[in-house]
Symmetry: C2
Subunit: 326 residues, 2 copies
């Protein structure tokens, strides 16, 4: 069974990789950069190369969907690289082809703040894709890189959906009609996304959940069912946003990077600045089979569950990774 998680940023360890195998994960899209420069991102890739060598029985680096299928066949979890911010490409569009060659398959055009390319969801105003943003969308289309707007603002996201010749993704967020949060997405965005063949990965990060850490599996799955009615089950997947075993210093880096001397609390607050506790039904990769059971309990059929748990992402990657001519 193909199971794909379209976003994790764990404190990587053999324990986590063993749990991926226990949870039956075929592929995981891992974040390798939040605010890192090109060189810093390459350092992350170097650390991954050491992990691939040290844990070659558990994980393997995937450049293609053929690599994902080969991982499945050999009982390993395929790792796909992604960046949550365009910082790894700096101000140099030619770096995209270099990063693609090194395995970058997903890139967000902005992360909370304005970037060189697009506006983030915490800015006051969103003028939409920038001049460079439009060029980068075309280059990502050519190379076969997923355009991810998870942390971007509404107009920029709608611009990206319209400009991109390939369907785009929101790898980790939920609908804001279920839980209104800066990071969750409007019905307008999710309709435009799904109508163009794009994908939404449902997040299990407590700040994106109704009732936060107290959210129940049933409540989560009812939201998925409602989303399936609105947008079609074929456009839905999981993007857990699992940040397992990370110290709170990591969420400080995610939110504040090097852009402020203050602390930005993002979805948290001064009273609650760290990672929130995970909901009881989703602590780590071993809880993926439970999600599938939860989807069955709210009425999804086998084929829909297979789609949401992995094959929808795989079909989408099949389409996007091939790239398209300029």
């Amino acid at each position: 069974m193909i199971r794909i998680d379209a976003l994790q940023y764990a404190n990587w360890s053999e324990t986590v990789f063993r749990q991926m195998r226990e949870g039956g994960l075929t592929a995981v899209h891992v974040t390798i950069a939040y605010h890192e420069t090109f060189r810093e991102t390459v350092l992350q890739m170097e650390a991954w190369n050491r992990r691939f060598a040290a844990h070659s029985n558990l994980i393997t680096h995937a450049y293609t969907t053929a690599d994902i299928r080969a991982a499945e066949a050999s009982g390993k979890t395929a790792i796909l690289y992604g960046a949550q911010n365009p910082s790894p490409m700096e101000d140099d569009i030619d770096l995209l082809e270099i990063l693609h060659r090194l395995g970058l398959r997903v890139m967000q055009l902005s992360y909370n703040n304005q970037s060189l390319l697009a506006t983030g969801c915490y800015e006051d105003y969103d003028p939409g894709l920038t001049r460079m943003g439009r060029e980068v969308v075309a280059e990502m289309n050519r190379l076969g890189m997923v355009i991810d707007m998870s942390h971007s603002a509404e107009r920029s996201t709608l611009d990206a959906i319209e400009q991109s010749r390939q369907p785009i993704a929101i790898t980790h967020a939920n609908p804001d009609w279920w839980h209104p949060a800066r990071r969750n997405k409007s019905d307008t965005v999710l309709k435009a996304l799904s109508e163009t063949g794009g994908m939404l990965g449902f997040s299990l990060y407590p700040h994106h959940l109704k009732d936060g850490s107290e959210c129940t599996l049933e409540n989560f799955c009812r939201m998925v069912a409602e989303a399936a009615e609105r947008y079609g089950a074929a456009h839905l997947g999981i993007g857990s946003d699992l940040c397992q075993d990370q110290p709170d210093s990591v969420v400080v880096w995610m939110r504040s990077g090097r852009w402020t001397k203050d602390v930005d609390y993002g979805e948290g607050s001064a009273a609650n600045p760290g990672f929130p506790p995970q909901p009881a039904f989703f602590h780590d990769n071993r809880d993926f089979p439970g999600l599938a059971r939860g989807l069955a309990a709210v009425g999804f059929d086998k084929s829909e569950i297979a789609g949401i748990m992995g094959t929808n992402w795989l079909s989408y990657f099949d389409r996007v990774f091939d790239g398209c001519d300029g």
Copy 2:
């Protein structure tokens, strides 16, 4: 017919690429770094990606010998990346795997001066491979990257030959018994090189030639014949060191990099600081067929000529590019 040039650093242009096709070049090992840092080397790769896109009818990037053979079949010249100095890997052994993924297939362990890895041929003392040098040799063996000692000093070169589990190369130099020059190689080195399966690429850079720019084709080919007697024709190839259409500022960068505030004249002199004129028989890539005729004139047979003009390099790359387990 397979024709391979194991070193060029031209001022790349459509003119040069068309001349490669006219000269029947199957593959050219091009220098992408002299003293460049990692990021600067990546900028050179970015420039090459634009060239591959703009001149896709003439050239193609080769990562493997299968790519070289495919280029031959499709009437293009395969481009292989190399660095004349370990500067692109900085002080970070993990960068080698990254550079390898990006296509770096050849790296010199030192360029004229002491590096972190080995001693260059212009230093007064040569203590041999450094601690890090031995680690890098093993990692290059594992990855399948050619260890090139063209600009290295004698003991470091002998160390590399001994330490490496794959045969090494001197991509561009001549025997010093023909023309004594700091950059040409001793009989001791060339014997050790060839006895371990290594390769020597004959240079056509005037400072490496007997009579310099006045060297004749016959004289050059008689030297090749003598080398074939001493070392075996199977270990010989061409590494022209062609620096076509380059302004003299480029030879200043090669020699002085950022290591001196003075000007180092290297093989030149204050009176003769620039690129010397090429010998009459070898101006550019169109002169490769003439080399083959010159080899025939001094008595080489067809199969030896095919070897020296290209298949010896191809067999060597077949062996080395596969890498070997740690």
